[in-house]
């Protein structure tokens, strides 16, 4: 048995003991989540080590129900006294809560068992073995590559390397017991260049992976970070106008992230989404297919079972622009008169809500360059700022920077403008989707183009 498996077994045992004690104490339902993690995080700046941080941590989360009254508690104090407070507080708070007719664990017949769980290959022992020296040298290499790439890189916010390992277990009084473990390594490089008028331009690039071998080369990360930083030199506002907008895959991902929040069952029953009552209707152009796929090997958001112990499955959310389903946990499914999509996520603190796993807007056949080439005049967005999104109405307006597109080519860098359009219309106006999807993030999209948006500038 590997270290991680042994640790997982110990966490399941601890979870079971806490769950049983809560039931003995008077809970009708008890669910214990146990987490254990360790990480090493280093940062270098101007080639010198700036931070070396190393630690491990453990925590217990408990959710109980007394009748249909719900409470949850959390502690990082795993001592006997800490566990006792965790259980007593949960029971006391449950008696303060009021009965919620929709509350309750999933039906035991819905729970998954170990033989059903896919091996998602999210754990690499090699990640835990990366030493502080090696981490520092990867970060130094990345930063140096950025400086070497272009003499206009004159400063740095630093480069960071992090490795993390996590093991977690869930034990419920409904009869579920399971554990999960994963690793994660990442490198980020953040160079700075001097621009005209005393302004500085800061840019970054990063790589992250479950397996160490999948992490992008430090040289490549540093060079791309430098390329992005330099590209923004001399950025100017544009005059206010309506124009086509291409979102590169980073910006596109951020748009998809807004949609992700609106498609959750919890947002729907709370009426906090513009997608209420929209299943079966057009929510995007027919070029748009969106899936939530927790079963992708080595992907950042992969999981075999969900936060309630249900088997995870691939859910088609949008097909040909038509909304097929919301993503639901047991509670939101009951509220909406439907069944769970296996999308429950349990926070370390014990709360449960639906979440996306790997939410992906599917790639199309065109290259990013072709999208740019067929755009006569437009804006190419590489990053966005601010929080200008109203989920209830879909109104969207954020700060943007990127490049002007003239005659099918990227030209002057642009910053300090906002782009606005209701998200519902934005997704329906997608008139081209590129082929450059990658699996670096749990919410992922290729580059896409929106036929027309309002740009506010000078």
């Amino acid at each position: 048995m590997s270290n991680a498996e042994e640790e997982a077994k110990a966490l399941v045992d601890l979870g079971r003991s806490v769950m049983e004690r809560a039931i003995e104490g008077g809970a009708d339902v008890a669910e214990a989540g146990v987490h254990s993690g360790s990480h090493l995080s280093v940062k270098v700046r101007m080639s010198e080590p700036e931070l070396v941080e190393e630690a491990g941590s453990r925590a217990l989360g408990l959710r109980v129900m007394v009748g249909q009254r719900v409470a949850s508690t959390y502690t990082s104090d795993l001592s006997e006294a800490g566990q006792r407070t965790l259980i007593e507080d949960a029971l006391e708070l449950a008696r303060l809560s009021e009965s919620d007719e929709f509350a309750g664990p999933p039906d035991p017949s819905e729970l998954s068992s170990p033989t059903q769980w896919a091996d998602l290959d999210t754990f690499d022992e090699g990640v835990s073995e990366i030493s502080a020296d090696e981490a520092l040298s990867r970060a130094q290499h990345g930063e140096r590559a950025a400086f070497d790439f272009d003499p206009r890189i004159t400063n740095s916010e630093g480069a960071s390397f992090t490795r993390a390992r996590g093991v977690s277990a869930l034990v419920t009084s409904g009869g579920f017991a399971g554990s999960d473990y994963g690793t994660y390594a990442s490198l980020v490089v953040n160079p700075v260049a001097d621009d005209e008028g005393g302004k500085k331009r800061s840019g970054y690039h990063w790589s992250a992976s479950r397996h160490y071998a999948d992490l992008e080369d430090s040289q490549a990360v540093g060079e791309e970070a430098a390329r992005r930083t330099i590209a923004q030199l001399g950025a100017k506002k544009l005059p206010t106008q309506e124009l086509p907008v291409i979102f590169d895959k980073d910006a596109a991902r951020s748009i998809l992230g807004l949609f992700a929040g609106c498609v959750l069952g919890s947002s729907i029953w709370r009426k906090s989404s513009y997608l209420v009552d929209r299943v079966g209707t057009r929510v995007a152009s027919d070029l748009v297919d969106i899936v939530d796929d927790p079963l992708l090997p080595r992907a950042p958001g992969s999981r075999a079972f969900d936060g309630e112990g249900l088997l995870c499955r691939r859910n088609v959310v949008v097909e040909g622009g038509v909304l097929k389903t919301y993503l639901m946990d047991t509670y939101s499914a009951r509220k909406l008169g439907q069944t769970s999509t296996g999308s429950a996520s349990r926070s370390p603190a014990g709360g449960i809500s639906p979440s996306t796993s790997n939410l992906i807007l599917k790639a199309n056949a065109q290259s990013r360059d072709e999208l740019i080439a067929e755009t006569k005049h437009g804006l190419y967005v590489t990053s966005m700022m601010g929080f200008g999104f109203n989920a209830v109405t879909g109104d969207f307006s954020r700060g943007a920077s990127g490049f002007l597109i003239q005659n099918g080519e990227l030209s002057d860098p642009v910053s300090e403008v906002t782009i606005s359009l209701n998200l519902d219309q934005l997704l329906q106006r997608i008139d081209a989707v590129a082929d450059d999807l990658d699996q670096r993030t749990a919410i992922a999209s290729p580059t896409f183009r929106v036929s027309s948006m309002t740009l506010a500038g000078s």
């Binding site: 800061s202 929080f387 300090e416």
Partner: protein, 481 residues
């Protein structure tokens, strides 16, 4: 000692930490040759209550505790933490952090002694020690008031969060300090619907105080504000796009200062010369009307602290005076670099993170103008009343803010409500364009949380009515022709 939740490291606690234990751990931390070390003991208890669909639907409590050990050698920091206070666990953390200075000569720490700190949040009974029924009753009152106020209100949820954070800091310069930081935050969120049009409104507040907060700002008052905002938004029209005058309402708009100016004056960015304010102390960086301070001493304010997370005693720092840059906000590391003393801005999210220069209560002080004169002076512009949040690019000062409540100003009068308004600009440019300041300075109610490098800390903001000449408003309506 009263109350239910106490730090194990406090006097009489199960793992009481005294000067002797601190000294032993600091010695271990410095045994590899570090220049400086500090210990950050933290015990934090938080609770939250959500009232939704006319029942108290969820109640939560969380306990988090541990020790963070930091060792510095030149510009390099070693950091480690542990989650139990057994001497062995603490010793291991100290040894791990010490590694940053591997190969150096051991340094003996100075004997530690306790510092006297002021008390800026004299709370008679902490919210955590009050029976849960009292908090349920507050949420019920808010819910009832919101539902009763207008038939278009279709959803109400109200929440209450409380915490107490006890810290003990000891460092190798001989300083030791304690603080217990209570905090409450109330919020209500409503959705109003009319003929298929749905809009939300919200209101909230709190601070470092107990339930007496609600004697001043009642749950009913917050409910009324939230409902009013949602109803106003039902009639909102598309916002204009382009450059125009902007008037910021007093209080909440201080968040714009926090983003546009505050972050750029945190000393770490200036130490690294990555802020657009680097090397500009003594220069004019704002209109002569502007005096900006960061003040940790406001009684009961969300951003106030008695002791910072490095054991320093913060006061009031003048950052900009009559438009001239006076100084940065320092933590220990940056103060060493600038050859000055740390001024109490070293803060961290928890024992799991190292401190950085952070803001407390950041404020633009009041001016001479009557607020109505300020509005009257604008022929076409935007009146920004409530902010949803903002973000700044420290390197060049570019910022974006989104409004949750904003209005058009036409011919000197506040007229139609606007939806989806964003303000975009550049910090130094916006500060030079401050042309009028009201005499109506206000501190915002306690709702703001500031994020930096993944660490969140509670902050306060404040300002008077402000007129900024020519800012970019990011709406959808391009002016005709």
């Amino acid at each position: 000692m009263t109350g239910r939740y106490h730090a194990p490291f406090a006097e009489h606690g199960s793992h009481a930490v005294d000067a002797d234990i601190a000294d032993r751990l600091l010695r271990i931390a410095l045994e590899k040759g570090g220049d400086y070390a500090d210990l950050f003991f933290e015990y934090s208890v938080s609770g939250s209550y959500v009232y939704d669909e006319q029942i108290l639907k969820s109640a939560r409590r969380a306990v988090s505790m541990g020790l963070g050990v930091r060792v510095m050698k030149g510009d390099a920091t070693g950091y480690a933490y542990c989650e139990d206070f057994s001497f062995d666990a603490m010793k291991r953390a100290a040894k791990t952090a010490a590694q940053i200075a591997a190969g150096g000569q051991p340094l003996a720490p100075l004997a530690v002694s306790m510092r006297d700190a002021p008390n800026r949040y004299p709370v008679s009974v902490e919210s955590l020690d009050v029976d849960g029924e009292a908090k349920k009753a507050i949420l019920e009152r808010a819910d009832r008031a919101a539902r009763a106020s207008d038939s278009r209100v279709v959803r109400v949820d109200a929440s209450f969060a409380e915490s107490a954070r006890e810290v003990l800091i000891a460092n190798s310069l001989g300083h030791m300090a304690r603080d217990r930081q209570p905090l409450i935050r109330f919020g209500i969120h409503v959705i109003a619907e009319d003929a298929g049009n749905r809009q939300s409104g919200s209101s909230g507040g709190g601070g470092r105080m107990g339930l007496e907060y609600f004697d001043g700002q009642t749950p009913e008052w917050h409910a009324e504000q939230a409902v009013k905002q949602a109803l106003v938004m039902l009639d909102a029209r598309e916002a204009p796009a382009g450059e125009m005058d902007v008037v910021l309402a007093p209080g909440d708009s201080g968040i714009l200062l926090h983003e546009a100016v505050g972050h750029g004056l945190e000393a770490d960015f200036n130490r690294k010369k990555t802020s657009n304010y680097s090397g500009r102390v003594g220069e004019e960086v704002a209109s002569a009307l502007c005096t900006v301070v960061d003040d940790a001493s406001l009684e009961g304010s969300r951003g106030s602290i008695n002791v910072d997370d490095e054991g320093q005693l913060p006061t009031r720092s003048v950052l900009i005076e009559d438009g001239v840059l006076k100084g940065y906000m320092q933590d220990r590391h940056s103060a060493d670099f600038f050859g000055t003393t740390p001024d109490g801005h070293g803060r961290r999210q928890s024992f799991r993170s190292h401190p950085m220069p952070r803001m407390t209560n950041t404020m633009l002080m009041g001016g001479q103008d009557a607020p109505e004169d300020i509005i009257r002076s604008v022929s076409r512009g935007v009146y920004a009343k409530k902010f949803g949040g903002g973000q700044v690019d420290i390197a060049n000062g570019d910022f974006v803010f989104s409004l949750t409540e904003g209005y058009l100003i036409e011919d000197g009068k506040v007229t139609a409500p606007l939806k989806g308004v964003n303000l975009i600009g550049n910090g130094p440019d916006a500060m030079r364009n401050v042309v009028m300041l009201g005499h109506d300075f206000e501190v915002s109610d306690g709702i703001w949380t500031c994020g930096k490098e993944g660490q969140s800390v509670p902050v306060g903001v404040g300002c008077p009515t402000i007129k900024i000449a020519s800012m970019t408003v990011g709406g959808t309506q391009v002016a005709g022709g």
